[in-house]
Symmetry: C2
Subunit: 209 residues, 2 copies
């Protein structure tokens, strides 16, 4: 499948390499490809880059920051219409330091905001509850664990779950419509706290049921 | 140990029975013992009752509702001074229907509010992330899972962890000071959503690390 991943932080390239290894064709979207290529941390990355406004794909993954998500998706624009858009972002607000708070929560979520602004996209919240090290190597933490999907379109949730399966995920928990993104994003403060106590990002939760 | 459990909903009696079976002496605190005894759902409960203002114990457990927690603890008053107070409550706001939102979150938590109002109590957030069926029977869901503790007093966290061990808990995750209660309470919307999808309360998360 042709997949476009928006975002050039650690998450985008990590997912891109793993999805390419799983047989997909991956392009990384960025605001300014020349600027991205000039960055030191891009030196070891071997994935094609395209500007947001030039990118197209069968499936999109938003791996930009919470504050950068809406501008990035709006820059991609009409190419998102009818497409599955997997949203990994979290509404983290670092303006008051660490640990971050959330800039939207409780009665709304970033994923719902994005879906409202992009009504033609088929948004699915997935992978926001773990570090990229776990996304691409679910077996690497020593036991099975859980990845969640939430979105208003059942077919889009299935497509996202299939992509997770390509990466080795065996427990994909379907939470139903996109209002579940509130809970998935509000889990982040607990994740951040656990990260501080564990001291490394290679952990995840398993829903025992 | 002499334990007082505040609250007469399902959680208080369930925990009371389990802690008594583990060898502790348990009293249930309530606003009006005569009114509680007259309730139909109290008929099968065989635990001593006392009014909040008359209760004392070596360790307290707050199993009242989120909105009822501060009045209940204030009614107990000076007896809480220096004592470990395990706070199971969640700041659930049902005023806009189901699913509930949280009436405090993100940059504060109910547990921190309670600790500020009762500075002499040694508050520990524990057990708020699961149903009482799991609290008292951690082995009953088919696999090990995790219970979290958070509180400003390390000795109080250890006392709470020891109580969890009495109930059969093998994975007690110490999250440090009480600001971690934000994450533990903000986990509730995800719990509520999972509850809806699973259709029964016998589930919990295991932190795979």
């Amino acid at each position: 499948m042709q997949i476009a991943i928006l975002g050039t932080s650690a998450v985008g390239p990590a997912l891109g390499n793993a999805l390419r290894a799983a047989g997909h064709q991956v392009t990384i979207g960025t605001r300014d490809p020349d600027q991205t290529k000039a960055r030191e941390r891009w030196a070891g990355v071997d994935l094609p880059l395209a500007a947001y406004q030039d990118i197209d794909a069968e499936l999109f993954i938003n791996a930009t920051s919470g504050t950068g998500s809406l501008p990035a998706l709006q820059a991609v624009g009409d190419a998102l219409s009818g497409k599955v858009v997997i949203d990994i972002s979290n509404p983290l607000d670092f303006s008051h330091g660490y640990p971050p708070s959330l800039f939207v929560s409780n009665t709304d979520s970033l994923a719902e905001r994005l879906q409202r602004e992009l009504p033609e996209a088929r948004l699915v919240k997935m992978f926001n509850t773990m570090a990229n090290e776990v996304m691409v190597n679910p077996g690497g933490i020593g036991d099975d664990s859980t990845v969640f999907v939430a979105g208003n379109d059942p077919g889009a949730r299935q497509a996202a779950a299939a992509l997770a399966a390509d990466l080795g995920w065996t427990d994909v928990f379907d939470l139903g419509d996109l209002t579940a993104a509130r809970g998935l994003e509000m889990y982040l403060p607990l994740w951040v706290r656990m990260f501080g106590q564990i001291g490394r990002p290679e952990f995840n939760i398993k829903v025992v049921r």
